[in-house]
Amino acid sequence: MTATATSARQESHGLLSMIVELRAWIFLLLLVIFFEVWARSAYGQSFVINAYNLQAIGIFATAPLLLGLGQTFVIISAGIDLSVGFTMGLAAVVSAHAANMASGVLGLDLFTAMLFGLVAGIGVALIPGLVNGLLIAKLRVPPFIGTLGMYGVARGAAYLLAGGMTVPVSNAWYAWIGNGRVLGVPILVIITVIVVLLMHYLLSQTRFGQHTYAFGASRAAAVRSGINVSSLTIKLYVLSAVCAGLAGALYSGRFAAGAAQAGEPLLLDSIAAVVIGGASLFGGSGNIAGTVAGALVIATIQYGLVFINVEPFWQFVAVGVVIIISVLVDQSQRRLLGGRKDE
């Protein structure tokens, strides 16, 4: 092959891989354009230049995104965490109980009680996270099976602790966390943005993140480089559970009640966000920005369809189609670029 042909090929590959890389953002852009055109022609108003819509999409996106952040790490490591939804439910129930108990039984002020609830929700999530990690790292249980078991255990525990009902929280501070705004920005969104930045840092700038990528691509490479893969695995599932715990604790504030089913539909949304964001379920690739875009795609579809007054069930179809397109793009890139050698 001549040098010019090579470089021309590299350039076209460069463009192609950029499109592949940014596909979640391209989806998002197309969706926004679609709803914008619809809103203007049907209602004579803008879809995007509308603070209410943006806030609503932001809030819609927070829970699947929080779960998706932890899930991103797990999926990059070539694992999967099926227990996040009910870990979130468990955390929601426990944080509701804890906040009530702190103000009712311990007589703490409402602000401290709110903090107590948040910490309890995140704290209880450590248990399923640690158990998942130990099962997968030490007992070599496949992630799919181990976390599926935990899906059941956390689900049962959450319903048992809730007594089969939702657990109302009457705490003005807690409700403020879930529904308040600072300078017009929902606090939920602010918290989520902070967690996003933290996770981006963790994944892209630390050894932990780097080792997660290496481990996901080649377990042997990680092991032989002296990376303690079992401690890495435990940390990954604990991180995922902590994200779910935070989402659960925030849920109790948003709805002024903890519910065992708080995260039930969100497991698939979290995986969808990661996959739409460009991660491969085979491990080794993905990033936080992609997952953010993926969660925004899902939230935009969910909210946008309500906005244009279409049967909300179309959202399942739409999200499903986006997932399939996203995976097809990933496959075709693998075929085009994967086998490429330099000589």
Binding site: Y201, Q205, T206, R207, Q210, H211, Y213, A214, G216, A217, S218, A220, A221, A222, V223, R224, S225, G226, I227, G284, S285, L337, G338, R340, K341, D342, E343
Partner: protein
């Protein structure tokens, strides 16, 4: 040659996997600036021997001495910390990461961003990658691209680069030339010579007699877990080595 200090002594080492006796009383030495070739048929125990040296396997009997001191590595990283670097048959590269990240995998350098935030020092990794690849005279240009997009020879060079970057005293290579085209085989052979000239001890496994005779100072032949013989290239020939490998 005989005056160079002995870096490594393997004394009477045995290793079994369940009922399989992969090594039975194998001994060999390696001096600084010396290249030892390990030869033997499939399943002879070559990989097992180097894994015992590099901390992957613990031996069941016998001992391994490093500069005269007895060592018993529990993990490969302990062996690496003692200056033994191993390049395995499968290379064990993280395909999704660039050259620099592979060289530094498990010991990534950090710097402070904005004066306080510890972050990975990717520039240092890329610079070290460039410098190391130049030292190997292997032409890799894309230091941001994942190594999955590299050729077999380039990937081998990355694995060797990873080892030499850390200034190992002993380099162990499991079939470093097996997956390569002829020009790249030559490069790896000349690279082994370079390492030898720098005073490193090199153990390499090969099925390729031409490579073995081109670069080895001594040839250790294993057959079904025992040492069938040890020769210098001057005192032997390919036929004898093959006879030692297959028996009879």
């Amino acid at each position: 040659m005989s005056s160079a200090p002995v870096l490594l002594s393997v004394n009477n080492v045995s290793k079994h996997f369940g009922g399989v006796e992969a090594l039975r009383g194998v001994s060999m030495d390696l001096a600084a600036g010396e290249v030892v070739a390990l030869a033997g048929d499939n399943g002879a125990g070559k990989s097992t021997l180097i894994k015992a040296i590099s901390g992957v396997h613990r031996v069941d009997g016998g001992e391994i001495l490093l500069s005269g001191r007895r060592v018993d590595f529990a993990t490969p990283s302990e062996a690496r910390a003692s200056g033994i670097e191993t390049i395995y048959q499968d290379l064990a590269l993280a395909d999704n990461l660039p050259v620099g990240a592979n060289i530094f995998l498990g010991r990534e350098p950090k710097r402070k961003a904005f004066g306080f935030l510890p972050v990975l020092d990717r520039k240092k990794m890329a610079d070290a990658a460039k410098e190391t690849m130049a030292r190997l005279d292997f032409h890799v240009e894309r230091f941001r691209a994942p190594v999955s997009t590299f050729s077999g020879g380039q990937r081998q060079a990355v694995a060797i680069g990873r080892a030499i970057y850390w200034n190992a005293q002993i380099l162990i290579m499991d079939e470093p030339t097996a997956a390569l085209g002829v020009p790249e085989q030559r490069k790896v052979v000349s690279l082994i010579k370079t390492l030898k000239d720098q005073g490193k001890g090199v153990i390499f496994i090969s099925h390729n007699l031409a490579d073995i005779f081109a670069v080895a100072d001594r040839i250790v032949v294993l057959r079904r877990g025992v040492k069938a013989g040890e020769r210098t290239p001057a005192e032997t020939n390919g036929d004898e080595i093959v006879r030692l490998m297959v028996g009879g």
